[in-house]
Assembly symmetry: C2
Homo-oligomer: 298 residues x 2
């Protein structure tokens, strides 16, 4: 994760992060690290006492400010309003139930879901045995994507890859085999269609292909053994999983068994939203803010 | 994988493996290794010329024999018949299309699917950073298990765990969260029911609990952070995945990114069936024969 975070530190503009109800140590630590690294400035919404006690130095420097809120629901609404007004460039969840924050984000009149878009989770993984980052969706939000939702996921993951500097992202559409099977796995027919439309240029400069399994997506040798001929060539930058179960299994497995460092953010909204889960470590929270920051800056 | 394979070598009885159409180097190597390790004796069905050329020593020793067959379909039927007759104690796929072999295995009159059972794939993984084996299902056969099929999977995975010496197998039912959500994920309600029935003793001495994600199933710290109270306690021996997509992602991810060694076999049949895939390495094929051998011996 280091190279792109270092590049980000050298940017002169620090996007403003709206931090919703920052009442827990973990959120405060991650925000402090991101502010001190020069990635963001932050507006802390709610929890004034705790913020004043722990962020005295950052408040004095002007890099952090406070907006009062009565409760986490109001704090969520304020963060979303700041994003609508173009002031906050990213939102970060603190000690607020995810459902409460998402309710404000998805509010039909006052929310920040882009018209015609769907909320989807994009994760970025740095896996020690790989020589490049791996982007994937969706481990956390969309249960069983419809075809329209899958197209949104593809657009989102391409946006994030490009924001991270990939000129020609290589996206694999994941299934348990490499065969299109319309009867038992109808989404594989849609995979084939997406691959064709991508080749025709619908999503700009990129490679989209599938169905492939995780191994033939990410390992040139495995792809060769199976005799697969694809421009993807076992060298995916991004994986689109067929459902939340498989995406979540991937996320948990690489972090638990493969030593992966991850970042995650929600896309499809006017500004990226960082929604850490209780199990995330500090590095994950920090990198998630950094990734949202990178996406916010385009 | 070493300890139980060593124990197996010390057994005096060598179950007979029926090897279907052993026309490829990879199958011949794996069978040779298993015979030489003293795990099995083998009957090679079809491909006489190649077997006579490469297995002259093993044929002379009487540990390997040959039965002729005209083609791989006939070889499949012969292997299944030998299993029905109680002579072959396990079946291994050679250079035969999996569909052809499974057609013989699943044949209503002459096949070997146990009455009322479903064919399911059980994998066994040795993951370097874990201190015990991990059993899981289903990465390869059952697309979206029904409730009845999931109960079969549970029974199968318990059988295999017990054959491998676990007195009280600990089984986690996998989902992307720890919440039962009857509306969007109806199988999670069934998970809860299975946990209750297991606690009531329906499957003998074992722990079955869920829904849990991969992390809270396999990591005591992650389970503690989420405040989960379960006898499973982040220390699962076995994982039951909600669908083939998530099972397959787990399988491919631990082998590709976590250095796992795996074995796999099909259960629900009168004898275990080993169906290696083209991408499997020699170790996987050898351990799969060994695992089938262990299961065959009960």
């Amino acid at each position: 994760m280091t190279p792109w975070v270092e590049a980000l530190k050298r940017e002169h503009v620090k996007p403003l992060a709206a931090v919703v109800w920052p009442g827990d140590e973990s959120t405060l630590h991650a925000v402090r690290a991101a502010v001190e690294a020069g990635l963001i400035e932050a507006v802390m919404i709610g929890c004034r006492e705790q913020v004043e006690r722990e962020f005295a130095d950052l408040l004095a420097s002007g890099k952090v400010s406070i907006v009062d809120a009565d409760d986490s629901a109001q704090a969520s609404a304020i963060a979303v309003r700041l994003a609508r007004e173009g002031r906050a460039r990213l939102i970060m969840k603190g000690l607020v139930n995810t459902d409460v924050l998402l309710k404000a984000v998805l509010n039909k009149e006052e929310g920040i879901l882009e018209p015609g878009r769907v909320l989807t989770h994009i994760a970025i993984a740095d896996i020690p045995c790989r020589d490049k980052l791996l982007f994937f969706t969706d481990a956390a939000v969309l249960p069983y994507p419809t075809e329209a939702q899958r197209e949104q996921q593809l657009a989102c993951v391409l946006d994030v890859c490009r924001a991270m500097g990939l000129a020609r992202p290589r996206v694999a559409l994941i299934h348990c085999t490499e065969k299109v099977n319309e009867r038992h796995f109808p989404f594989t027919a849609h995979y084939r269609e997406l691959a064709q439309r991508a080749q025709a240029g619908e999503w700009g400069d990129c490679v989209v292909d599938g169905p492939f399994d995780v191994k033939t997506s990410c390992d040139a040798h495995a792809a060769a053994v199976k005799g697969i001929s694809s421009e993807l060539n076992g060298s995916a930058d991004a994986l689109i999983f067929p459902d939340i179960e498989s995406g979540n299994v991937f996320y948990k497995t690489i972090t638990l068994f493969a030593g992966a460092t991850t970042a995650g953010l929600l896309c499809g909204t006017r500004v990226p939203v960082v929604v850490p889960s209780r199990g995330d470590d500090m590095a994950t929270k920090f990198y998630s803010i950094a990734a949202a920051c990178r996406v916010a800056m385009g």
